[in-house]
């Protein structure tokens, strides 16, 4: 099982000091957090994509490429990539490029985005959200798996003889997860393709997660990709930990009370009961997290949100230390002991290359290119 963190890249005032970090400061903080994630032994770092304040992460592949260069083992992912408003051609190009730079340590999570205004900024309409997700993703897959694509659809200009470069590393595109809180169509999409399904599992009651995952598993089996319990499931989670649970609650409460999304509403205690939020000791986080398996089955990826609501970098790094030293090693062992042998691990580049029968050089050389002189080579093949 993979463990990691996901961030939405919000720039939020620290309510205990009244201080708001600059963009420059917060961007550097997230880079530090990503490197620290590898250092403490986590497996995955996932970064969100947003195009409006208070978020900075409009350009996730740029950030992830930097992280790739500074790490050696960490799997890089997104939380999420906007499949609705990004041109699928640009996603195909950007993430194949990132895949090469990161030696394959890349996967993506597709999402539709939760803000209406973002759609018109990119020439789209939120009312077409599901249709955009369906059409754009179908094109993205073709761009990664077919060297030359002729395509016509509803939401972008047609393509004639188009080749997306670079081609996916070793001829194998990045693994894709689809994220949705409550749209069965997206779980259906993930099941149809045999892709992963990720439920963000934070800020919402567990029943949403349970129903969506149940549906995805059933449909995954329907489409013939394997048994329902072999479908690839990822979950989010939100934690804040201190050695003593009372200290954790006292320290987190001022952040919770005024946090974006849920602040000024339910109490920390109510929200902890109604959603998977866990504020307490490492042992409490371990127990709660192990309990997720009771309602989603054996799953492959657990990501934690630990850096939002204005928490200072120092605190976030302490949270990472606790995760790495006290929580994840226990979870790794416990989950592994519970998982039956026929349930697969989360796909990685290596496992996908092996499943494809080995790496292939998928480079497409221009057939009549007078600059590179590849004409001969192509004819000789």
């Amino acid at each position: 099982m993979q463990f990691g963190i996901f961030t939405v890249s919000d720039i939020t005032t620290d309510p205990t000091t009244g201080r708001t970090p600059s963009e420059a400061e917060r961007i550097k903080a997230v880079l530090t957090i990503a490197r620290k994630a590898e250092e403490v032994g986590l497996d995955v770092f996932a970064l969100g994509e947003h195009h409006n304040p208070p978020f900075f992460s409009s350009s996730p592949t740029t950030t992830l490429a930097w992280v790739a260069a500074k790490t050696s083992r960490l799997q890089l992912s997104t939380s999420t990539t906007l499949i609705t408003t990004n041109d699928p051609v640009k996603i195909a190009e950007d993430y194949a490029m990132l895949q090469h730079l990161a030696d394959g340590r890349v996967d993506l999570m597709m999402g539709r985005g939760n803000t209406g205004p973002v759609y018109p900024w990119f020439g789209q309409d939120i009312r077409n959200g599901i249709e955009l997700a369906v059409e754009n993703y179908a094109l993205l897959r073709r761009l990664w798996t077919e060297d030359v694509v002729d395509w016509q659809g509803k939401y972008r200009t047609p393509l004639q003889g188009f080749t997306s470069t670079p081609r996916p590393l070793d001829g194998v595109p990045p693994f894709v997860w689809h994220g949705s809180i409550r749209s069965p169509q997206i779980a259906e999409q993930a099941a149809f393709y045999g892709d992963g399904f990720f439920h963000n599992h934070i800020f919402w009651p567990k029943e949403h997660t349970q129903r969506m995952v149940e549906y995805y598993r059933r449909r995954y089996e329907h489409y013939g990709h394997g048994a329902a319990d072999q479908a690839i499931v990822g979950l989010g989670g939100q934690v804040f930990m201190r050695k003593n649970s009372q200290d954790a609650i006292a320290e987190f409460r001022p952040y919770f009370d005024v946090a974006p999304v849920y602040g000024h509403g339910p109490s920390l205690e109510d929200f902890s009961r109604e959603t998977p939020l866990t504020v307490g000791s490492p042992q409490q986080v371990i127990e709660r997290t192990l309990g997720f398996r009771d309602y989603v089955g054996d799953y492959q990826r657990q990501l934690f949100l630990i850096d939002h609501a204005g928490l200072p970098l120092k605190t976030v790094l302490e949270q990472l230390d606790i995760l790495g030293e006290e929580v994840v090693p226990v979870l790794r062992k416990e989950f592994a002991a519970l998982k039956p042998a026929h349930v697969p691990d989360a796909p990685t580049h290596a496992s996908r290359v092996a499943a494809a029968g080995g790496a292939t050089d998928s480079t497409v050389h221009a057939p009549a290119d007078s600059v590179t002189g590849q004409v001969q080579a192509v004819e000789a093949r």
Partner: protein
């Protein structure tokens, strides 16, 4: 005959509340009218006052907490709805509106609804027609033609109250009973049932 369920939403704030009193009159009369049509009915009352904080939380978090979830499920799953609010500032109360704001927009589509309202004077009575009826029209509910308004003076007099009010209650209850008895019981909609259109169809757009 299948037993039908009536949900009663009362937005009264006082204890006791004249809004709840009107809701109870409408409910008792509707149960009687259904019984006369050979339809047994059960009743579930939702006092919004008890969910006031949860409703505010729901606006912020986007989901109902456990207690409010029970109330929402009772209303959405009912075969008929009796909705009664006090009139504040020329319209339904904010608490009343908030409850209908947190329902899915299709949750009440086709549902038989009987509307009632209370206020200090009869000068507020058309708020039912000018404010509350458009709300339920937007939600595509099937609203009984008679809406019942009770002002302070309607409660005056003997235990039975104003005979005119009793008559309006009876007429409205008959209308709701006809609507409820005339349609099949509400079947729960499962958004996670296997889809009727295939993903291939979705792909073809």
């Amino acid at each position: 005959m299948t037993t039908r369920t009536l949900a009663v939403v009362s937005a009264g704030l006082g204890v006791p509340s004249s809004t709840r009193l009107l809701a109870d009159r409408l409910t008792a009369s509707t149960v009687d009218a259904l019984r006369e049509r050979g339809v047994p009915a059960t009743v579930e009352v939702v006092e919004l006052r008890q969910h006031a904080r949860s409703l505010a939380d729901n606006l912020l978090t986007g989901f109902p907490d456990e207690g409010l979830r029970g109330a929402v499920d009772a209303v959405v799953g009912a075969d008929g709805l009796i909705a009664v609010t006090p009139i504040f500032s020329a319209s339904y109360s904010g608490l009343f509106k908030t409850f209908f704001d947190v329902l899915d927009k299709d949750a009440l589509a086709g549902k038989p609804v009987l509307m009632g309202a209370t206020a200090g004077t009869a000068r507020h009575s058309l708020a039912l027609e000018h404010a509350m009826r458009p709300l339920f029209a937007y939600l595509r509910a099937t609203v009984a033609p008679t809406a019942v308004f009770a002002a302070s003076e309607d409660w005056a007099g003997a235990n039975t109250g104003d005979p005119a009010l009793t008559g309006r209650v009876r007429r409205a209850a008959e209308e709701l009973a006809d609507l409820v008895a005339g349609r099949p019981p509400t079947a729960p909609v499962d958004p996670f049932a296997d889809p009727t259109t295939s993903f291939e169809d979705l792909l073809r757009g």
